[in-house]
Symmetry: C2
Subunit: 797 residues, 2 copies
């Protein structure tokens, strides 16, 4: 384990609060601008605003990232746009700017309050002597509202110039998205109005700024002026010692797609005509006038109330380990603000709304890493994420068709329409400068069964038959249909195979019979048959609707059944218990990441396909066989899980942030307690303690790893508490980290709630009074039925 | 077309003889030592002796390459060994060596007589004044005999020292093969006795040297002495002006395997115990005493007579084009001496016996490029080459088994046992120094159907039912069985596919549904069903024998039938006529070799898989779709052949010497006369005009491209004469090069012979008197039956 990380975890007293609801920093490190900007970000699932400073410019990577604005930057990268920065504020004194990014404060603090979704910072400058305290949040009460309040206190006599407005010099990762961007003075506001270059989307942002003396009257600006691409109102104020100013800023933002039909996405055209710029402006104007009509405290109170509700079901309480307590909240927070919980036509991006990296798009991460937390704490959001997959079925169908398959081949990188937006060419070989053709977009097929598997998981956990009938069955059937067109049958061996894939381990592209992929495919085909049979028997009209819609035939169901029965699933070796990651894996050079690292000619080399140093070795980028265990905890015996954990773990490079969690969860199950805890820490600090380069060769590679955030919930609940779904409730197989006195969380099932509390030697589970039915618990070999309002205590070995 | 080559072709008067039976050079170029050593080589299918000079040492790449001596040099390269050089002779005068390799002659000539299989050289030195004339041949009358005669004429008074014996300092391509090598004086001879390091094979070579004055008495040596690793008898002679000496050397050589059982190879052990060194020595001694008992003229006469017989059936007469006449003989000559016509357990190597390159092993070249010439001119040799494939079936079975398949998966590189001796790792990336894993050995599966296809061709052309029953059927069934285990069935598409192969074009490894491979597989499955049915019906006992031997079941025949019916064969596009080389080929970057050549960072880069510059483009190393046409001239219409020739030709880099011939043949068919002739010249001069580097980075890359030599026959007969097999004889569709007045050759069919003579506007075919049956000719739409002794003249358009 990385010693640097362990050292940093011990530094927790400095960066984490007593309440375990905050992260903070009291030293400013300009080299960590990228990381801190991500870690301290605020957001509400509609917009994300990086935790940078009010006077930061493009070089510091501030960004207001807006959902549902996918647009091509340069013909290659379709991604979300970054809107003009409406919180821009620049202080100066006697012609000299007072810049946060230059540090040199007497006193400094930046904090993120996860309980409230609020950012704050304070700094004291000595020359001139001022104390600046800013608070901000992206409102959950009005998703289009971003607002801040800044208090400036004079520590001596001081003449200040405050320029505040909208910075139009947007940092954009892959080039300019706007064919036009105008900053203008509007009626009682400033306005930025943009048109995107590819799709012609409008984006209108308005900013209202109110400056007043603390407890006193508003101050009028002297002028409106430009500050290097920022249009600002300029205030000039003289302050005596102890006097203070308060600046309230309200920023409201709408884009074209916020006004368009979301009932059926499938393509941009399917959403109907674009609203006019004037219509978008009207929406923005309406939002701003609502925001201005309420006091800043009112706005904040409404926002906080929603966060309070979220945490009611989402919070995990860890007794005896403040580091873990803070870490888990930090990660859950980022998973929440990344999720477009307001919509059912939008993806949860791999970097959320923390930046444009990964194109603001969903990967398999969404279902496998982000979604389970919602499924058991906020199932409505889980549902919406899956409905997004339904609404983007046409994109997946198109991809399948384009590649010669049937059904739904979900995009590796899925934006608004679900069409594949992963370019075929993006890596470059650092040794030769030549581009590399990777096949994430056409060979990494497991995303489709992963989504269908999650349909099963959602339906099982929620009992949401309506979802199944309206959306789930169609997703499932189309994925099964895709799989049936993608498998190959080996006549001599009388088995189905899946050829030429990438499994989760991305260093080994172009492999056959990847255990993970084949297992998921089998699971999905089996489930598809089950749903086909039950739906056609019990709900024939619903079934007929679906079948007619997609032209489903009885023979297809039989094909899925045959595939489920005869697909080749690599078996655990009778003696060693080992499962081969894919056919031929064990014949590759058996070595370790640290060994092949020595072979690098350049630290920036890609290790993977086609010709990287890991390709012909057993070194994996990330969990693969063990990844399957995470999804199917009961598919293999603990002995098999242990054998494979112990084999694959030292051969895993963890080149993906998705890897740690898998090893943490499986380690917990097999009693590798220390490793479980270490991997938990590693997974939960991927962003927080990112001490590596966040900009590489001028390319921004920062941003929040939302999958690592989302999966933190699973490490704790599925790993340490050992929770697994059963037909009639939940099972538990707890392995609490030794330092944890208690672990408590809420689980939702069929709309009901359980409150689970674990101690080292016992657990209690309470069914809420208003539960509608009995939930069965399985702990070891014992089973307990828990009726509404009842509580049960189970001793643990 | 390479202008350098065209220039050289115009130089023909200098290097080719009036008779068109010789190649020669009258200028000595030490930079061409490698190329000339190959071009002027002699051989007899048992041994090859490079056309170097008697005093050449390892640096000049002399080599006596011996069949059936496969042995590992360094753990990677199994290859034939090079024996000690028994023709070594060193002249000196007053302590100063007179070396051929230093040039400086007053007069010089080196010649190869293809009619007689004899090498000769003459040179006149002025100081001392001597004329040296040497002749040599590898005897076809006694395959173990290599002999030379050198006449040394004094042009003034001269004192000569002649050291002649055996040079033990062997040039060996991939390291030393001998664990021991001793040079000793034997009874009336010198002897080299070697033991190979891996297999422990013995190799005993004896040399007899007789020096006499011209027309006078024998001269006795003064001493036996070492000359830098060569053991020599040393003669010292004074000569007056005009006096001459004659040195006759007889070298006889046997290796262990020459005395072992060849009835069943399968593994080295299967050949029974190794003979003792003494047994090998006895064989050598016996051979030498037979050779010594005959005069040099007698030995030569016996050798010449055999060559005369060979040319009787093999020669092609071209009237009106002396360059072409010489070229065709040069190529046929090299195909003949490369062929182990004396054995039916040995391969015809890709570089023949010209050197150790390509491991002395057979590739698919053997059946597709070398064998057809024999099939129609010397069918017994064709049969023996195919029996070799039968004897190595176990190696092919082992390869199939090791890779998880059934039946016979023939080695890409096939030595004595047929086990795969192509290493998995041998290329290095010149840019990174890293080794590259190529998949010639496990993915280039077409070799198996190519061999089975040749079984069909052989049986069809010869009617050799005995061969089919004894050998052919088993090869065929095992290949069909392999294919059945190698194909994949696509349930949705109801078709078989062949996934992850290299077709003939080796730049595109790892492709699906390669047209060539799938077509060949279909052909073979269809033929296997046909043979299964006819054999089981008409020769049930023979069939039962084969079936019992290989455990064949009726269901397998049905599986082959199903595959033949439903395997996916890419079709010619209805509009363009184009056939896609493999699935997705047309989606690759459409560019040209000359364009991507500009992208090279190093001229030595490998263009192919996994990451070479051609991989993601439509640039092919060699013919692939058009290669199929060569094997199945009637499979597609002339229009389709033309469309594909015109499409693929400019996209072909000709990185393989196998490519030119295919484009020549197809060009002839479609009336691209000039291109056909140009490609004919290119193909026929691959070795002769090799002006490139023959040693690259210290690695020898020279040697005779035997496939290009063998296929010269096909360019002329299948291409220009347009000959194709029909059920009852031959068809012809002639397109003579405009400069050719006549083209005449012999064709064998069912043991009978036809003499074919083409003119520009007519052709005549004569059936020999002793033919046993009528042969039908098809020319255009007319058919003629030709009884024994009859002749027919057909006008051509
Ligand atoms: Ca205002
Ligand atoms: Ca003698």
């Amino acid at each position: 384990m990385n010693t640097k990380m362990e050292q940093r975890v011990e530094l927790s007293d400095e960066i984490w609060s007593e309440t375990c609801w905050e992260i903070g920093e009291s030293r400013f490190d300009p080299d960590q601008a990228v990381t801190a900007g991500s870690n301290f970000m605020i957001g509400n699932g509609y917009m994300g605003y990086r935790g940078t400073f009010a006077d930061d410019r493009a070089d510091q990577y501030p960004a207001l990232v807006v959902t549902d604005t996918y647009d091509n930057a340069d013909g290659t990268w379709k991604e979300l746009v970054t809107a003009p920065n409406g919180l821009f504020t620049l202080l100066s004194c006697r012609g000299k700017d007072i810049l946060w990014r230059q540090g040199g404060f007497g006193e400094y603090e930046r904090r993120l309050n996860m309980l409230r979704g609020e950012w704050s910072a304070r700094a004291r400058w000595d020359d001139p002597g001022i104390l600046v305290e800013e608070e901000r949040f992206c409102s959950y009460d009005d998703l289009h509202l971003l607002t801040s309040r800044t208090r400036i206190t004079a520590l001596g006599e001081v003449e200040l110039e405050i320029a505040t407005g909208i910075d139009g010099k947007v940092w954009s990762l892959n080039g300019n998205h706007f064919s036009s961007l105008s900053l203008e003075e509007g009626p009682d506001c400033l306005e930025a109005s943009c048109v995107t270059g590819e799709q012609g989307y409008h984006l209108v942002l308005r900013e209202d700024a109110l400056l007043r003396r603390a407890g006193g009257a508003a101050i009028e600006p002297c002028e409106t002026a430009s500050r290097e691409g920022a249009l600002c109102r300029v205030f000039r104020v003289s302050l005596e010692e102890g006097q203070a100013l308060v600046l309230e800023k309200r920023v409201v933002l709408y884009s074209s797609n916020d006004l368009r039909d979301t009932s059926r996405i499938t393509s941009d055209a399917a959403r109907g005509p674009l609203p006019t710029q004037e219509e978008v402006r009207q929406a923005t104007a309406g939002g701003l006038s609502r925001a201005v009509s309420r006091s800043w405290e009112e706005l904040r109170e409404a926002h906080r109330n929603i966060w309070k509700d979220r945490w009611d079901s989402a919070d995990i309480l860890i007794g005896g380990d403040r580091v873990a307590q803070t870490l888990i909240r930090y990660n859950l927070y980022h998973n929440v603000i990344a999720a477009p919980a307001h919509a059912d036509h939008l993806p949860l991006g791999a970097r959320g709304l923390s930046c444009q990296a990964y194109q603001g798009a969903a990967f398999w991460d969404q279902e496998i890493f982000n979604l389970p937390m919602f499924l058991f704490t906020d199932p409505e959001t889980a549902r919406r994420l899956l409905v997004y997959r339904y609404r983007t079925l046409d994109g997946a169908r198109k991809k399948a068709r384009d590649l010669g398959y049937r059904g739904a081949f979900y995009a590796w990188v899925s934006g608004d329409t679900g069409e594949e937006i992963c370019p075929s060419w993006f890596f470059r070989d650092v040794l030769t400068g030549r581009r590399i053709r990777n096949h994430f977009n056409d060979w990494q097929i497991h995303v489709s069964p992963d989504i269908a598997y999650t349909v099963w998981k959602y339906v099982t956990a929620t009992g949401d038959q309506e979802f199944l009938e309206l959306y789930g069955a169609e997703i499932l059937f189309e994925v099964a249909r895709f799989l049936a067109s993608r498998v190959h049958y080996r006549p001599g061996l009388e088995r189905y195979e899946i050829i030429r894939v990438l499994g989760p381990d991305e260093y080994h592209e172009n492999v056959d019979n990847n255990y993970f992929t084949n297992f998921q495919a089998q699971f999905v085909c089996r489930y598809a048959v089950e749903v086909y049979d039950s739906l056609s028997t019990d709900h024939p009209r619903v079934f007929d609707d679906v079948a007619r819609r997609i032209g489903l035939e009885r023979g297809e169901r039989d094909a899925w059944d045959d595939i489920a029965r005869r697909i080749y699933i690599p078996e655990a070796d009778h003696e060693t218990g080992l499962i081969e990651q894919f056919q031929g894996f064990f014949e590759l050079e058996d070595t370790r990441p640290e060994v092949i690292r020595e072979r690098l000619l350049d630290p920036g080399e890609y290790w993977g396909w086609p010709n990287g140093i890991a390709v012909e070795t057993q070194v994996s980028k990330q969990a693969d066989v063990t990844q399957l265990f995470m999804l199917h905890p009961k598919a293999c015996s603990r002995e098999v899980i242990r054998a494979n954990w112990e084999y694959y773990e030292p051969r895993t490079q963890h080149g993906s942030s998705l890897s740690y969690a898998v090893y943490a969860i499986c380690a917990a199950w097999i009693g590798h307690d220390q490793e479980a805890y270490r991997y938990f820490l590693r997974s939960c600090t991927v962003d927080l303690l990112n001490t590596g380069k966040a900009v590489s060769g001028g390319t921004f590679i920062g941003g929040i790893h939302t999958a690592a955030c989302g999966v933190a919930w699973q490490i704790v609940v599925s790993g340490f508490a050992g929770m697994y779904l059963t037909r009639s409730g939940f099972g538990f197989d707890p392995h609490l980290p030794s330092g944890w006195e208690t672990l408590a969380f809420t689980l939702k099932r069929w709309g009901d709630s359980l409150e689970v509390t674990l101690h080292q030697r016992a657990m209690t589970v309470r069914a809420r009074e208003d539960n509608s039915r009995e939930i069965t618990l399985e702990v070891g070999s014992s089973e307990v039925a828990l009726p509404p309002g009842q509580q049960v205590a189970v001793p643990l070995r």
